[in-house]
Symmetry: D2
Subunit: 359 residues, 4 copies
Amino acid sequence: MIGPDIVRLVFPDPPACSFASDNTAGAHPAVIEALAAANDGPAVAYGDDPWTTRASDAIRAVFETDAEVLFAWGGTGANIVGLQAMLAPRDAIVCASSAHINVDECGAPERFLGAKLIDLDTPDGKLHPGLIEAEQVRIDGARGVVHHVQPRVLALTQATETGQVYSLAELDALIEAARVRDMLVHVDGARLANAISHLGCDPARVVQGVDVLSFGGTKNGLVHGEAIVLLRPDLVEAARFAQKQAAQLPSKMRYIAAQFSALLQDGRWLELAGHANAMAARLAAGVDGIHGVDLRHRPQANAVFAVLEPDVIDTLTRWTPFYVWDPAINEVRWMTSWQTTEADVDRFLEGVAIAAGAV
Amino acid sequence: MIGPDIVRLVFPDPPACSFASDNTAGAHPAVIEALAAANDGPAVAYGDDPWTTRASDAIRAVFETDAEVLFAWGGTGANIVGLQAMLAPRDAIVCASSAHINVDECGAPERFLGAKLIDLDTPDGKLHPGLIEAEQVRIDGARGVVHHVQPRVLALTQATETGQVYSLAELDALIEAARVRDMLVHVDGARLANAISHLGCDPARVVQGVDVLSFGGTKNGLVHGEAIVLLRPDLVEAARFAQKQAAQLPSKMRYIAAQFSALLQDGRWLELAGHANAMAARLAAGVDGIHGVDLRHRPQANAVFAVLEPDVIDTLTRWTPFYVWDPAINEVRWMTSWQTTEADVDRFLEGVAIAAGAV
Amino acid sequence: MIGPDIVRLVFPDPPACSFASDNTAGAHPAVIEALAAANDGPAVAYGDDPWTTRASDAIRAVFETDAEVLFAWGGTGANIVGLQAMLAPRDAIVCASSAHINVDECGAPERFLGAKLIDLDTPDGKLHPGLIEAEQVRIDGARGVVHHVQPRVLALTQATETGQVYSLAELDALIEAARVRDMLVHVDGARLANAISHLGCDPARVVQGVDVLSFGGTKNGLVHGEAIVLLRPDLVEAARFAQKQAAQLPSKMRYIAAQFSALLQDGRWLELAGHANAMAARLAAGVDGIHGVDLRHRPQANAVFAVLEPDVIDTLTRWTPFYVWDPAINEVRWMTSWQTTEADVDRFLEGVAIAAGAV
Amino acid sequence: MIGPDIVRLVFPDPPACSFASDNTAGAHPAVIEALAAANDGPAVAYGDDPWTTRASDAIRAVFETDAEVLFAWGGTGANIVGLQAMLAPRDAIVCASSAHINVDECGAPERFLGAKLIDLDTPDGKLHPGLIEAEQVRIDGARGVVHHVQPRVLALTQATETGQVYSLAELDALIEAARVRDMLVHVDGARLANAISHLGCDPARVVQGVDVLSFGGTKNGLVHGEAIVLLRPDLVEAARFAQKQAAQLPSKMRYIAAQFSALLQDGRWLELAGHANAMAARLAAGVDGIHGVDLRHRPQANAVFAVLEPDVIDTLTRWTPFYVWDPAINEVRWMTSWQTTEADVDRFLEGVAIAAGAV
């Protein structure tokens, strides 16, 4: 490992856009413009305004649905609101152990919903029907037995926290596994745009069979804003109250809505997500040839996972921040975003090469 | 009552800024500019950025404190986070029955905190020590008895939901009543700026003896944003986790922080609140002379409460929206904001006069 | 006030059965015998046993219903289980401010249900339709508005905590007031036997229009045991899970069930409650003539409320324990039970007379 | 598989005491006698009575501690009360995936505590320090990071749900693993007597380093009753309120306490548990020689786990009930209790032999 002084001498300036998180990116200029344009005098509060109607319509058009759309501030909040609408007090959520709701929301689901998460270990962060079948005792065997929580929601993350994307066939199989168990399907789509961009399919196709979608905006160029897309009409009333009760009902709703309209305009959302994906692919391709860096898998969305020597990790994080995903195996996560540039990637690769060579 | 067609004939255009809520106002242009300026490339997420540091410092300077400051999206969320940090599972909150936490948050405190609110009826929306003393059984008598919740937090609203402002002497007396009962003091300051403007005192004075403050920005010219000011260091850790768990931790924090900095710059926050108060005073003065409109009390902040004939209410709400506060006594609430103009007030007065005369 | 030494000299031995609570009474000998008789080798756990079937049938026979019956350990638990089955997360409970669920359960409803209790002040502990109508804003005005909790359950206590009994006409009027608001009716019947005994009516009559009943056993001669009577079939599944989740599902259910069978046999439950009521009436008649003791109202169940000089209260509680109900007005509560004897009452009256005379 | 008619012809009468659960056993006669003897006129409610004092003292004597003891009705309730006292809202519980709190309490911990359970897969139902260390990311990595719940309690079950017993060395190592992480230790001791009987050690030894113990009575010969042993004085106040709030505060406490005194008298609790263990050993020894029955492991407490052909399972459960523990591998669970006789075991073995031979 090389010391901090040497880092300063040996390394170039770090990349402008760090690879720590797609939350470090700013907002797209068109989003800021739309937000500013929405500041056009007074407007009715809590969503009964034309901006909110337009943004809801835009989301409905994208997913070819007449679903009700609610706008929330953040991803944890959006997840909680949608899940609350789907659950009775005795119900449980089945999810991957790496799911954001299971790991990264400080137990908000348990605290607010009072519900158990049945988290299934998955080698690659993806659920598949076989994993659900293997939980025969906890899922099928619990049905109707008062001693056990009742698995009611299958919660998927698309793209996953591990940067993978469910194929349409995988999605269909999971949704069928839920349906035969009388379970509903929730999709945490904080990075749904990245997944759709990877799949290259019609957006409507990825919500087929889904009951509630958290449709992410923040990580894809908004200041902040997530949409809760309620694809089952019978969940709307519960969700509307849950939104207020979970403190996710923006009083000046138009400013969230206007951002979404700008994001969805002329396919910008897929363009931005596609760029982030391309930057991850460029990064993966670049590190693939660097000795001492083992790619975990070919990136499908905007995350690259790699295994490095501990000393290399230490050196690199002195230069620019990122997360050690699993310290037990020295696995790191590098995220790209709509704002990451080719120059950022190339600069980062430069640093990786120096660090790897310097061990 | 006159019908909708006649309304169109007889009434002028309604005021641009409705009197339904101070949430109908937009954001101050300087706030939008600051938000846009914060969109300056990438930044560390979750508040570890210079905008957040600057805004926290500005709030600390205003209140002359070294308190920890957290930024949240909304008022309900800010209240919940602060209260969670103050409460053990057995603890209760004593508040006015008209308090926002008791009436207007869809039971978010009970759902998230699992805590009882002991709400005290108050003629004018204000608590006073006598009301607390009168609850000897529920408050003092409950102490240490496992059958009863333990009153732990006295929750005040400044200015109150009924547009009143606690005088400094009233505040001191209430805080003393809390202290002698070993209770903490929470202030819901969604409209604290309006209260300080009315009191004309040093901002630091209104948080003297207070443990946690929800310091409102949304109603005073922000897009959205509230600050949780933790005046007791021993509450900081619990509050930080509660913020995440309550889904009130903005990932791109800088955009909230930058707005607050703009609001606090050069006393803008007090200027805007003072203007809203002045508009309420103008409205109250104007209606005072209209036959058939009884002012409930001289406004102290940015709300006017009045009693009208039901027919007059019906006619007026066909023209421009506002809330019937208490239908049992035909009481209405008219709110002003930083964006309300003298022309809006005068136009509204014109309509009130027509409606009152048309009965 | 006379000192402790003088108390010993001047007062006779205190009554064997104190007037502090009907929980100080033991279990009826027939109940103990039935519990012991149920200890007849092994039996299937969790209620799938003949004792539970028989006791459920006995309760159904008494109330002339085919309702599902669940047995729980305690009154707070029974209330929580029944209420959970009736409530969505956004729903609220309307109750008297003196209700056990509001005052004496340490906030268990808020903690477990996450629900708000809208408690109405009542001069005599009884609700009536006028009180509900007076809450137009909080009850009718909240309907469908996401900012407010949705009043969904009207919770009555029969007999009330203040020893009053709703007449059948009063009950009918309250149930009608609930029905027109699409609210369900819960009855906390911890002392329902005392109420029925007072009313002298058919037990089935008091549950007419009721959706869920907590039918008390503990205060009427059981070791412990309460029944949750689910008069709406659509609440059964939710209640069965809530029972387990609220930790109110006795594994060896037969021992609770057998007690209930013994209690209901040959009208014993009404006989015991009638005796308790008679002892309260005897006590009330006795104190009525003692100078310095003001009866609050003629007792209808097994509680006597009276106002005494503070010194008299202090002296008496040195002799035998009881509760000061409202210290602000020096009101005390004296409870009788199935175990209180005429000698206990007469001895207590003796003490009251001495204390009142000694001031 | 043989049909129901043949079962009746071929099989003897089923054993009097089923092997489905140790909850099917009745109460020990001495326990019933003690309960009946406690029915000695009135007594102060909620535990301020001599029976409760005596039983608390007896438990303290057994564990050689001055811990506070609370009595609850059931095991789920006891667990919840103890855990509530140990947890802040942000805290999580680390437990084995097979733990009763994780699997068999219908999510009561999540509902009541609002806390996440971090459940670790264990091959044999036992935790060991290596499993905790392997969760570096979720346990050590979460410390102080607001995005993650804070692992605060290590919850052990002694004996485990899988009939295993932690050795003293294993316990010490786990407690040390908790201590170095600043975690508290909770023991679910619903079958602690069986564990101590197996270990043959001083009871005080098994609570060394433990912070809260749920000390089971129901499965070891009580009607119902569990004790919450608070080995840290600083948890007492929180636990006392949690007991009430969780609806686990028996009003007529003496009847629970008297049962415990009878159970602990003259070592009866260890005698009864030892008998149950011996019956499991006899059963295991008996099935060991039956072709087609594979013992999973040598029983250490009162449970036998075995793998059988599905047809054999079907046939046997038509004769006498028991649980299929893991249908994926055809594993069954057979429980013995204090009431199981040698004749019951031998009769059951007879049936197993017939069923296994009849395939």
